[in-house]
Every structure is written in C-alpha cells, then in structure tokens.
Amino acid sequence: MTAGEEQLVLVVEDSDEDREAIQRALSRSHPELVLEFLPDGDRVADRLRDGTRSFPALVLLDLNMPGVDGYRVLADLRADPDPRLKDVIVVVFTSSTTSADIDRCYEAGADSYVYKPVNFTLFRTVLQGAVDYWHTNDFVRPSADS
C-alpha cells in the first residue's frame, strides 16, 4: 500500500455506543484512516466482495453480536476462495480474556485479539495500539524473517 492510497478500516460492531467510541478513538489517533461501519456480521462477505467500493486494509470485528457472530464471520472469511477475503487483516475485540475464547479466535484465523475493556480511555488505548501496530506494518502481516 502506498502512502497516498486511501486506507479504509471496516468496523463490524452491533453496539451504537461502541461504534461511536471507535469512531472517536480512531479519528483522533489515526485521522488518515477512513472508517466504515457495519452493524452485524451478515453483510461482511457481501461488502468485501463489492468491487465498486474500496477494499479495507483492516477489519475490526466484534465477536459477540446477535445473529452471525464474530467467530462465524472470521471462519467464513478464512474459508473464502477469494484470496482478498481470505487474507484480509482481522482484529477481533471482545470483553473476554479467557484462554478458551482466545484459542478459539486464534484457530478461527484472527490476526490480533484485543481485549475490550469497559473503561473508554483504556478501550481507546488498546484499539489505537492494535491499529497502530498494523498501520506501522502497512497492514501487511510481517514475514517470519522480518
């Protein structure tokens, strides 16, 4: 990705409050990123296949959503024959820190697992930390020998 290209982050989050919190957090720390929001997991694949719109550099995915939850979205993306969907960087965020939930996410193909705290300041910090990491790496998984 070149410096001048628009960098889009697709946020899949069912909570209005959390969507607003993400908007506030990232617009301040990463004003160069464009945010697009989806309120549920049902439409993620269709949105990503829509060739008329920008493809996101990163997907921020809430795990606990009614209907199609984050695990299902993640598993479907990783199983998609389209390499762009299969390989898109996905940062999952959830309020759980239990080993079982983390392992399940890792197995499903998450790139980052971010704990979603109740405290907004901390939420902003962890979100910024995760996005900053991938931004610094140009939204590309670092190779093993880097």
């Binding site: 004003p31 790139d111 109740v118 300041t121 990491y133 998984r141």
Partner: protein
C-alpha cells in the same frame, strides 16, 4: 458561480492555530500548512522534515504547485540529509522560536546537490529555512524555495509563526499522550486489580493480566512464576497472533535476554529476542511478596513504540499481581490441609463383607477453609454389621473434634455388639454431660444375617435424612424411621424401621449437602429429582453411582460438604472361578440357571484368554461379573 477566495496568510494562520489545538497529530494540519505556504508570494516549493536526534529523517514531505503535497517521495529523505548535517552552520538569525537560514539554491547545490536540483525543478532560486524543536527530542525543519529574493522576508516571518504553531501543537499532543497513557495505565490497573481480587486461579488470572496489557500498554508481555525453584513461563501475548506463537517459542527456548529477577531492571532494555517478533525492547519487574520472589512480569516493545509504561506503573502492577499470587497460594495450601484433615475424619478402609458391596462419596465444600462435620463408617458386628452416617452442625476445629468423638463413641459400642440406638443415646448423654454446645444428626442401618427372604436391615435416624432403598427394579422407597437429633434432649425416643434387601437391592445414606445442592434455576436436588436420579443410576457400579451423586449428577452444584454411603446386597455367590473365556461363559450360564433363572444365553462375548467369573443373585435377579486384569464388566439378568 461564486469566485473561490484564496485564504490570506492571517486567515490560514488562524486556521492552523485552531487545528493545532484540536488535532491528535500534526499530520492533521500538515496539508493546510504546506498549501498555505505555497500561497505566499514567490514561493515555488516547500519541504518539511522531522529529524531524530540520531540524524535519521523518519518523516519528509514535499509540496509544489504542480504536484501538491506528497509524503515521503522517493529519495527525498536522502536528499535532505546533507542539509541536516550542515544546517547548524547556516543559521543567520532567530525568528520567534525558529532558527532561520537564507541561501541561494546555488549555495545549497554546493553541499546538497540533489536537494538543490529539486528546488530548481520547482522554479526556485533562493531558500528560506526554519529549524525548530519538536516533541520527543526531535527537530522540525521547513525549507521554502522562492523564485525571487523579494519574498524571503515574508516567508521568514511566516516560518517563525509556523514554528510557534507546530511547537505548541506538539507540546499539547505530547501532554495529551502522556495523560492518555496515565489514564490507560490507571484503567488497566483498576481492571487487573478487580480480576486479581476475584479469582483464585493464579495461572488464568496472570494470563488475563498480560492479555489486558497488550496492546494498550505494550506490544507484548510475558509472565513467569517461581515453581519448584524454577521460573516457569505462564503466559505470553503479542498484538500479532502469528508473532505471539513465535514469542512463546523464543521465550521457552531462552532466545531472549531472560527474566530479570535481580531487582531494578525496569527501564527499557534490549530484549535480545529474534527479529521475527519485532520486539526490540523490554521492561520487567519482579513479582515479590513477603520478601519472596514469586515471579517476573515482562513487557515488550517495538523500537520507537509510542507508549512505554513508566517504572511506577510496572512496579505497581507487579506488586498487585504478586499479592494475588501469594493469597491464592496460601488459600491452596490451607485448602489442601482442610481436605487432608477432613479425610482423616473418615475411615480409610471399609470392611469387606460377604454378599455386600459398599461404596462412598465425599465432596468437600468448594470454597471454605474450615473442616466440615460430615462423617460415615461401617462397623463389623458379631451378628452382622452397621453402616452409619452423621453430620455435626457448624465447621472448624470444634466441629472436627465432635465428629471424632461421635464417630468413635458410636463405632466402639457397635463393635462390641451394642445396638445402634443405645450407642446414639450414650453419645447424646456424653454430649450433654460435657456441655457440648453443638448438636449432630445421625442415621444408622444395622444389617442382620441373610435369610431366604434376603438381608434384613433396621434403619434408625436421629434427626438425619432417612435412608432410601433403591430396589433392583429401580423402585425407590424412603425408610419410615424417625427420631430426634443428638445433643439437645435428655431423652431420645426413636422409631426404627425394618426392611429386607433382596439380591440387587441397594440402600443409600447421605448428608443434607447432597439434597441441598441447587441447579441453575435454584431448585434443590432433594426436592423432586433425587429419587428419579437414584432410579436412573441403579444399575451402575456402586463407586460410579456414588461419585455421580456427589457431583450433583452434573446438574446440581454441590457447594457444601456432602457424603453418601451406598450398600448393595448381591445375594449368594454361586460361582467364583477363573476359566478360559468359552468355558467361563458356559459356567456362568449354568450358575445362573442354578439360581432358578431360566436363561437361554448371555449377551456378553469374551476375547480368548482366561477370565475370572462370578455369579450372584437369586431366582429373580442375577449378576454375572467378569474380571480380567484391571478390567471388570457385568451383565444383570
């Protein structure tokens, strides 16, 4: 159509000041700044750079009338390096907080030819430069090239003003970042403290600690805990899942600077991790409680990471984690002592009695650190045997002492051939005489000599849940015995109940911890579900039945102490021999028929080889049991 008004420099400066006090990054107003400078008279190009103290140029931008603003165009950072090396000698005066230099492009060409070439291509002939301080020890540099010296003074003034804006914005952003980091650290501490305080699972809690710290406060984290004189890695986290696996592996293999357990190694130091995890620095703090080193907490960072936790924060979090580990460890030790003491109050071996199977189950209350008062025993007597179960009210040392007194008093009298009700009365008198302030409940079943009808039994209860008979067909009958509890009344009147166990029948004695177990909806196990559960389990081997019951059958949470004692009468043993498999089946079939059961064949099939076979029962119920090595299986007919 309205004519677009080109903003004047004062308008632009005003907008820059407003942006500077709202922005989270100077990047936000960079574009406006460059385009604004380009609007000044004679300006042909603008170069901006951020310079680390090392001389490295991490940010560089170029703007001109043809191409607009471009970030990091190829080669520009290298082109500007000679200027950076020479710039201290070029300064001619101060303009506000900026150091101003004025040169011609020809003069620039003498030491930075590529840079001069870019300026010429943009149409520039003279250069005005401003250098100023920036956040985190960096320097800011703005170079403006003009096509005539006439505009140089205006540009120098503007650059001085821009330097003021950028410095103010940088300072404010740095202050805000510091505040954010402190707020985040406080929030992490608060959440971690809550987690540490409400869990006694040390490992899971420490995993949560590293997870909460990454990526908010560090790019990676690990925790090691002292176990058996070794530091054991409990958890590691990295913001990048793939690199987390690598980090775990490197830490396990010792491919890093290692745990710094010597005390004050807090400040970022080289992690010495392989480059593939991208974590060049680390801070660590010893987990220490009551002068003992319990472990080490380590945070890892990328080189140039925006946030590195302060020394105070790392120490604070380590102190809290250490306290939690210490508390949990003390709890575990105390809990092990309670369990051991509790088991000492129970018989270590139950007697082996002919024609009878016995199994017990015991659940120690899950969260309490005091010994409970549930007990049971089986006593061999001259004419049979007696099973007993009891429950002393309360917990702790006094309850444990009374448990010992009760069990040993009753058992001693029973062993000498005394009747159960006499033993209970004697215990009652002893408790009242000694002014024991606690009471207890007790139930006994005295079994006589088996006869043609089965095994006779007399049940007695002293304020305890009556025994329940589990018939061989799954029928459930609660004994009708009744009686008052022990240690309160001077005189005890009992109503014992006589029954007979036929082969295959069982009887259960239990304490109230079993019936008071609750399910998720709050219903008691004993309300309506115990009897159907006993019926459903009646064909199981007794040890399995006992362990299933004290576990609440997987549906009820048994939180209190709970004891069960199960006795099954299996009748006469008509066969007990070891034979080759085929002969064993024939012998078993013959033995079953000898009991009066008209059976055609057994459903069991046996692998070749010797097998021990036993047959118990009567004309209506028979059990064929096979034993090979450690394995036992049976068929009920």
């Amino acid at each position: 159509m309205t004519e677009r008004r080109v903003p004047t420099w004062p308008d632009l400066l005003h907008a820059l000041w407003r942006a500077a006090f709202a922005a989270g990054s100077t990047k936000v107003f960079a574009k406006e700044l460059y385009l604004g400078l380009l609007e000044l008279p004679h300006v042909r190009g603008v170069l901006g750079a951020r310079i680390h103290p090392s001389g490295e140029v991490p940010v560089v931008r170029w703007a001109d009338h043809d191409g607009g603003v471009r970030s990091g165009p190829p080669g520009l950072a290298a082109d500007v390096l000679p200027w950076v090396a020479t710039s201290p000698e070029l300064v001619t005066r101060d303009e506000g907080q900026a150091k101003i230099a004025n040169l011609t492009v020809a003069e620039v060409a003498a030491f930075a030819p590529h840079l001069a070439e870019r300026m010429r291509e943009a149409g520039g002939t003279v250069v005005v430069a401003a250098a100023f301080r920036a956040a985190e020890g960096d320097r800011g540099l703005l170079l403006v090239t003009l096509d005539a010296a006439a505009g140089a003074e205006t540009v120098a003034t503007a650059l001085g003003q821009v330097a003021d804006v950028v410095i103010a914005a940088d300072d404010r952003i740095a202050d805000q970042a510091l505040l954010d980091t402190r707020l985040a650290a406080d929030a992490v501490l608060a959440e971690i403290s809550l987690r540490l305080a409400r869990s006694l699972d040390v490992d899971e809690t420490l995993r949560a600690v590293v997870r909460m710290a990454v990526p908010g406060l560090a790019d990676g984290a690990a925790v090691h805990v002292q176990r058996d004189d070794k530091l054991v890695q409990i958890a590691a986290a990295h913001v990048d899942v793939r690199r987390e696996r690598l980090l775990n592996e490197h830490l396990r293999q010792g491919r890093w600077a290692g745990v710094q357990a010597s005390g004050d190694e807090i400040d970022p130091m080289p992690s010495l991790l392989p480059a593939d995890v991208g974590l060049e620095l680390m801070t660590s703090a010893v987990l220490q409680a009551r002068s003992r080193v319990l472990g080490v907490l380590t945070f890892f960072h990328r080189a140039g990471a925006r946030r590195v936790p302060t020394r105070e924060f790392v120490r604070d979090i380590a102190a809290r984690a250490a306290l939690a580990i210490d508390n949990a460890t003390l709890y575990s030790q105390r809990r092990a002592e309670v369990e051991e003491l509790q088991l000492h109050l129970l018989p270590s071996v139950l007697p082996d009695l002919p024609g009878v199977e016995i199994a017990t189950g015991y659940n120690v209350a899950g969260h309490l650190l005091e010994v409970g008062g549930d007990f049971y025993g089986v006593v061999r007597q001259p004419t049979g045997f007696t099973a007993l179960i009891g429950d002393v009210c309360g917990r702790g040392a006094a309850a444990a002492a009374l448990t010992g007194l009760a069990r040993h008093t009753v058992e001693t009298i029973l062993e000498e051939g005394g009747r159960a009700e006499d033993a209970v009365r004697l215990l009652n008198a002893k408790m009242l005489r000694n002014e024991v302030t606690k009471f207890l409940t007790l139930a006994t079943i005295t079994f006589g000599t088996p006869g043609p009808d089965g095994l006779p039994m007399r049940a007695l209860t002293a304020g305890h849940p009556p025994p329940v008979i589990i018939r061989r067909d799954g029928g459930i009958e609660e004994s009708t015995c009744r009686g008052p509890l022990v240690g309160v009344l001077d005189e005890l009147r009992f109503t014992p109940a006589d029954d007979v166990l036929r082969p295959g029948d069982a009887v259960i004695l239990f304490t109230d911890g079993l019936v008071e177990a609750r399910d998720a909806a709050g219903a008691f196990f004993g309300d309506t579900d115990l009897e159907p559960t006993l019926a459903a389990l009646h064909r199981l081997p007794l040890p399995q039945m006992a362990s299933t019951l004290v576990a609440g059958d997987g549906r009820y949470a048994v939180d209190d102490d709970a004891a069960v004692l199960l006795i099954r009468y299996r009748g006469d043993r008509v066969l007990d021999t070891t034979l080759p498999a085929e002969q064993a089946l024939d012998a078993a079939l013959a033995a079953v028929r000898s009991l009066g059961r008209p059976v055609d064949r057994l459903t069991t099939s046996l692998e070749p080889g010797d097998v021990r076979v036993t047959v118990d029962g009567d004309a209506e119920w028979a059990r064929v049991e096979f034993h090979r090595g450690e394995e036992t299986w049976w068929e009920v007919l």
